[in-house]
């Protein structure tokens, strides 16, 4: 626990709050990028370089751009007249607060038995990208293939779903 951790988590939480609270949808997408960057920095601070850079590539590079494209294609940047929140925002807030209370209570109650308190975990585990590649090509090769299939199916599915249906109209 040090200053860098508090700074990075403050950045991530502030970005997430802004992404959820701001009125203009484009500003929400930009704040979401800040939150993703904060989470990627937390990954890097945990010593997971590959996951951190994958997070930057996939989320900041692809998902944030997709969100901005979707906002602009649906003209979502115009603030609606009847507010940005649904009919029962207090119910949703109460549910989210209850979930956070339960999670935080569980974490704080079990803090003494969680691993990581001792000196042995002070040094980050030395895991190189080569280790990850070896594991992906040996032990995790079947999940890797399934993910490749899933990504192909999602790509084709997304294109078909979002495609113009001019032939169907006549």
């Amino acid at each position: 626990m040090n200053f860098a951790f508090y700074l990075i988590s403050g950045l991530a939480v502030a970005g997430a709050l802004a992404a959820v609270l701001l009125k203009n949808t484009v500003h929400c997408a930009l704040a979401l990028t800040v939150a993703f960057a904060g989470i990627a920095l937390l990954f890097l601070k945990l010593g997971a370089q590959f996951a951190g850079f994958a997070q930057i590539l996939v989320y900041i590079g692809a998902v944030a751009i997709l969100v901005v494209f979707a906002i602009l294609l649906t003209r979502g940047s115009e603030t609606p007249k009847d507010g940005v929140y649904s009919k029962f925002p207090l119910t949703g807030l109460a549910i989210a607060a209850a979930v956070f209370a339960v999670l935080g209570w569980a974490v704080l109650n079990s803090a003494s038995v969680l691993p990581g308190a001792g000196n042995s975990s002070a040094v980050a585990p030395a895991v190189t990208v080569m280790d990850i590649g070896n594991a992906l090509m040996s032990r995790y090769v079947l999940p890797l293939e399934i993910v490749a299939l899933l990504l192909t199916a999602a790509l084709i599915g997304a294109v078909i779903v979002a495609m113009h249906e001019k032939e169907e109209a006549k």
Binding site: V84, S86, K87, L93, F100, A154, V161
Partner: protein
């Protein structure tokens, strides 16, 4: 404080913020943003447990997080494609206005 507990608390806070966004916003894209935040909070938990767990050299948590990132990317692509398709049919992304299943 235990470092792992700090990361778990941050992840719980991010999850709660994402859940609040998904439950309270009207715009379908903002709901998807909330879902993305929740997925990221779960990934943070996985990486934190990998880092402070007993066997980090086994790479289990790391692999789980990497596959989770890939699945979340597929989810985002299909979800936003659906939002664009619905906007073309119903001319709105307001979830409260979408109250019929017929196109």
């Amino acid at each position: 404080m235990n470092p792992l507990a700090g990361y778990l608390l941050v992840a719980a806070l991010l999850f709660a913020i994402g859940l609040a966004g998904a439950l309270t916003r009207r715009n379908a894209i903002l709901v998807l943003i909330g879902i993305e935040l929740m997925l990221n909070a779960a990934n943070l938990n996985l990486i934190a447990f990998w880092r402070y767990g007993p066997h980090p050299e086994a790479l289990t948590g790391m692999m789980f997080a990497i596959f989770s990132i890939a699945v979340a990317a597929a989810e985002a692509a299909v979800g936003l494609g659906l939002v664009i398709s619905i906007h073309r049919h119903a001319h709105t992304t307001d979830l409260d206005a979408m109250n019929r299943m017929k196109g």
